[in-house]
Structures are given as structure tokens and as C-alpha cells.
């Protein structure tokens, strides 16, 4: 079996080669500091490594797991670094020029998600961006935006649900591989 032929380490390297860049982009946007972003990516990938005896480098499943772990690490760090959090409150526009050496798949995904985000009503997009990239809790968001927590919750929920529709995500991509005993 192909799976057996590949060593664990090769599998980890493959996952990194595929998702490392997205993970780094995410961490850098959240932390605004290359060294901290590297830490978040490293800790996220090592959490993956510790958690799985073997990897199935299959897109759509592993990616969410990895990005979730990296995001969680970055949130931990951003909440420690109060100073940077103040900066990230401003919804800085994305840099106008994409890095020239992007791979096509990544550029495609980025454009797809950015286009979907643009279609959300401003308050929903703002709630998602501040929470996800800024690392703010719903309570902090409510205070900063001068809205009840219930309103923030509902913006996040509606925004995510709409985003999912726009991206055409489906549940099948979510279930773990079927077992075959």
C-alpha cells in the first residue's frame, strides 16, 4: 500500500508543503510578526504530528484540522501579546500585490474566499474578520463594537453559514474516512 511505503515523516513534510504557506499567511496576518508566526505554525504542525500516528495527506480533511490547530496556537499567542492586538483592530486592507511566487492553487483559493467574503454584509464580515484574524472573543467584540453579545453571536453565525454556502462546502468533505474492517 502506498500509505505503508511512505514514512510518517514524509507525510508530515507533504502536509507542510501543501498547507505550510497558508498556515504561515494566517499566522502572520494575526500576529504581524514573522518570528511569532513561525512559532504558531511550528506548534500547530507539531500538534498535528503528536496527535496522529499516521497521516493521510488528503486535502479538505487534513487542511481544516491543521489550520484549526495553527489558528488556535496563534490565538493563544495573540491574546498574550496585548500590544499587537491593538494593531489588529484596524481592518488593514490586504496588500495590493500578491507575492509573485504564489502557486496557482493558493491564488485561486484566496480569490475564491476573498470574493465570498466581499459578498457578506459589512457587519457580518467585520465580526468574522475581527474574531478570526484579530483573535478577539465575542465579549471583547461586543464591547469594541458597542453591540450586545447576542448581536455579535448572530452576526458570526449568519456570516459563517453564508460563507459556507458561498464556498459550496459540503458535509461529505467532513466525515472521517470510512473504516473498512
Amino acid at each position: 500500500m502506498a500509505l505503508m511505503a511512505r514514512s510518517d515523516e514524509t507525510a508530515l513534510a507533504e502536509l507542510y508543503d501543501r498547507y505550510g504557506r497558508v498556515a504561515f499567511g494566517l499566522a502572520l496576518r494575526m500576529l504581524r510578526d514573522e518570528a511569532l508566526a513561525e512559532d504558531a505554525v511550528q506548534e500547530g504542525f507539531l500538534a498535528v504530528w503528536r496527535a496522529a500516528a499516521r497521516f493521510v495527506p488528503e486535502r479538505g480533511k487534513a487542511s481544516t484540522w491543521i489550520l484549526t490547530l495553527v489558528h488556535r496556537r496563534a490565538v493563544d499567542i495573540v491574546r498574550r501579546e496585548e500590544r499587537r492586538r491593538a494593531d489588529s483592530l484596524e481592518l488593514a486592507p490586504e496588500p495590493a500585490t500578491a507575492a509573485a511566487d504564489d502557486d496557482a492553487w493558493l491564488r485561486f483559493e484566496r480569490e475564491r474566499v476573498q470574493a465570498a467574503l466581499k459578498q457578506l454584509p459589512d457587519p457580518q464580515r467585520e465580526a468574522l474578520e475581527l474574531a478570526y484574524y484579530g483573535g478577539f472573543t465575542q465579549t471583547e467584540l461586543a464591547e469594541r463594537l458597542g453591540q450586545p453579545v447576542g448581536t455579535i453571536k448572530s452576526r458570526m453565525f449568519t456570516g459563517l453559514a453564508r460563507l459556507r454556502e458561498l464556498l459550496g462546502e459540503n458535509e461529505e468533505a467532513w466525515s472521517p474516512s470510512p473504516s473498512t474492517t
Binding site: 505550510g20 489558528h71 484566496r110 474566499v113 467574503l117 474578520e129 459563517l160 473504516s179
Partner: protein, 233 residues
Amino acid sequence: MESLTVHDLTAAYSLDALDPDESREYEAHLAHCERCQRELAALGGAAASLAYATEAPAPPAALRDRILTAARAERENVVPLRPRWTTAAKVITAVAACLAIGFAIWAASLTRTLDSTRDARDQANRALAVVSDPTAQRLPLKGASGSLVVGRSGDAALIVNQLDTAPSGKTYEAWVIQDGMPRRAGTFAGGGDTSVVPLDHPVPKGASVAVTIEKSGGVDAPQGRAVLSTQPV
């Protein structure tokens, strides 16, 4: 009712926008709320896709080396693995189980214990430690699809596929049976594709494991119907 407000936390949890207390409350709720598990699977994917909207230079090449080196160093402390699983089917089962566990931890939905007071994540980690141990022994189940995984120390976990959710008012209860004496090893609710159940009682050599259906909360000695069992370890 706690559930009404706790249900509402799924989106914020997907975005990591809860404070630690809220997270714990939500994860405890998630462990037995199928609606939230489904919703989290859906919203979690949408949340993670936000990562793709960012633009950034490629990470430094040194980062890749550092991660791989650190990963290797961690594994070297573990007994080098000589896979016990000899057939493709077993490998696939193990891979699927690990993948399922990864998601379970992420979703914190692993613990289906009805009467558990333990933290869901703690229990997930215990199961993971056993199941991801390449030196662990794996026995097939009789009566259900899945396996019993027993680590060298006797720590064990059951992986059961496609087990229907326990009927209302009932629970699955696991037993470690040694010298004809069944000992309680934890309750769980079943349901979903795969139930991963860390056993509360170690499984020594010569003991076997069985699961029965009992009234909610579990009982001190098995009374209900057996749904699965194993050979002695």
C-alpha cells in the same frame, strides 16, 4: 435552559472567539449534543477557509527544516515502530481511527460518556495516547466492527464503527473481564461513524472486554444484552 444559549456558541467556538470558561462549557455541551457536532463540522470548515483569504510571503525555508527536525526528535523518544498490523485492512482501520480522533479532538466531540464529569479534552487525549501508540496491541471485536487497542501498560481504548446511538434511557457500558469477574470500564452513548472510548479500567493480559446495554448512568454488574466482546488479550 443551558442548551439554548450554549447551542449559540458554535460559530464563536469555530472562530476561537470564546474565552476559556466559555470554551469549556461549550465543549462539555458538545460532547453530547449531536446538533452542535453537526453544526460545528459545517461552520468549522467555513471558519478554516478564512485562512486562505490571507496573503503572505512564503515562510522561510528554515521553518520547514525546524518543524521536521523537531518532529523527528519527538518520535525518537518513542520505540521505533515496527507495524504490528500486517494486513491492509488493519492499516486502513488504524489510519481512519487516527483521523477520526483528530477530528474528534478538534471538535471535542469524542467523549460520548453520558455521566462523565471529566473534561472532554482530557478523555480525548487519553484515548489518543493509546490508539496512536504503534506498539499497542489491536484485537478485532466480535459483534461489531472495530477494534480494542491495548497499550503496553494495559491502558486501553475501544474503537467501534457504526454503533447506533444507545436507546433513550440506556447507555453502552464497557466491562473488563478478568478471571470471570467483570469490572466497570466506562459508559458511552454510541452514534456517529466511530465511537472512540478510552476504558476506565486497565486491560491486563488474559482479560477480555465486552460492552452491554444498560440503563443510563451504568450499573455495577452487567445485566443487559451484550453488543460486542473480544478474545482475551
